[in-house]
């Protein structure tokens, strides 16, 4: 049995009153994502990440995703990154999507039925060693229990020469950017989500997102965790001051 490293780099501390422990965190997330799943594609569509399919395709191509690659999309959600991957690789049948929320998986499968879907978590990937050419995670790094454990798993399932690309929203580095970031994610998103979806669960999820963004550990620690897992040439490309694209190679 593979040893799971202790959660030395947690994305953020347990967020009370939502949950007090890591076990509770995963149950909480599955529940809130299941409840929000029917609304999530709509939220993403009108701009939750402010990016859409174009941004994801650009990030994937810049990171070296090419047709013919076997890809794993972790925490696939309703599948926006998976669909961008399929557009680039032109082979959705070679794409495996992993997600702990059943509600999210069922929504994603409606939009990209050719891919393979597994209900599983990033910390315990149910997949064989050295299987994939490329691994992606879009805006979900905050939801794992342990960054170290997650990146060890990513390193394990990638082939030699394989690449990881993690997209995330990170805190801007200047006062104006921070003010704008807070206004959009803390004040606008939960309210607009409530207005458009009329779902208290979806609005609650957006408020929770803000808390995770505010409490997320700095990018330098994410990079240290990737390097600690064995990734080489780890870089962080920053777009528009708050969209971080972490990349690394398994050599």
């Amino acid at each position: 049995m593979t040893e799971t490293p202790p959660p030395q780099h947690q994305p953020h501390p347990p967020l009370s009153p939502h949950y007090e422990s890591l076990d509770e965190k995963q149950r909480f997330l599955r529940d809130v994502f299941d409840k929000s799943a029917p609304f999530y594609e709509g939220i993403a569509g009108w701009g939750f990440f402010g990016t859409g399919g174009w941004y994801r395709r650009r990030a994937l191509q810049n990171a070296g995703l090419k047709p013919g690659m076997k890809v794993l999309d972790v925490a696939t959600g309703t599948g926006p990154t998976a669909r961008a991957i399929a557009t680039v690789t032109k082979a959705p049948a070679d794409l495996v999507c992993v997600e702990p929320s059943r509600g999210m998986l069922l929504e994603s499968r409606k939009l990209l039925p050719e891919a393979t879907y597994l209900q599983a978590g990033a910390d315990d990937l149910p997949l064989a060693d050295e299987t994939f050419d490329f691994l992606t995670m879009g805006f979900a790094l905050r939801h794992v229990n342990s960054l170290d454990g997650t990146f060890h798993e990513y390193h394990r399932v990638l082939k030699r020469g394989g690449k990881v690309l993690v997209l995330d929203v990170t805190k801007p580095e200047n006062a104006f950017g921070i003010a704008l970031w807070k206004f959009y994610f803390r004040d606008v998103m939960p309210r607009v989500t409530r207005l458009f979806t009329r779902s208290q669960d979806a609005s609650y999820l957006m408020s929770y997102y803000w808390e995770t963004m505010e409490k997320m550990i700095p990018p330098g620690e994410v990079i240290a965790s990737m390097e600690g897992a064995g990734f080489q040439n780890v870089t962080r490309n920053l777009v528009l001051g708050c969209f971080s694209e972490y990349q690394g190679i398994k050599s």
Binding site: Q119, G121, P126, L127
Partner: protein, 83 residues
């Protein structure tokens, strides 16, 4: 679909390869679910029938499949069918 991905699947806890249970084993497990006597590793009662079961090679545990989607979360594991 499951047949094609089976070679790359493994137990998320033990890393053992997974194999498909027999039709008789699936029927027996669904009977246990109907009787309310199946509990998963997370301590929750399993209440919905399954269409397939993935069993760890060492028969240490098993994972359920619903709507064509394998449920490979450690807390959702169930005891392997008795062969």
């Amino acid at each position: 679909m499951i047949d094609s991905i089976l070679p790359i699947l493994q137990c998320p806890k033990s890393r053992q390869p997974l194999t498909l249970a027999t039709r008789a084993e699936v029927e027996a497990l669904n009977a246990a679910i109907s009787a309310g006597s199946l509990t998963n590793s997370g301590g929750r009662a399993v209440t919905e029938p399954v269409e397939a079961i993935l069993v760890a090679a060492d028969r240490g545990c098993a994972y359920l499949v619903r709507d064509g989607i394998p449920i490979l979360l450690p807390e959702e594991a169930v005891p392997a069918p008795v062969g």
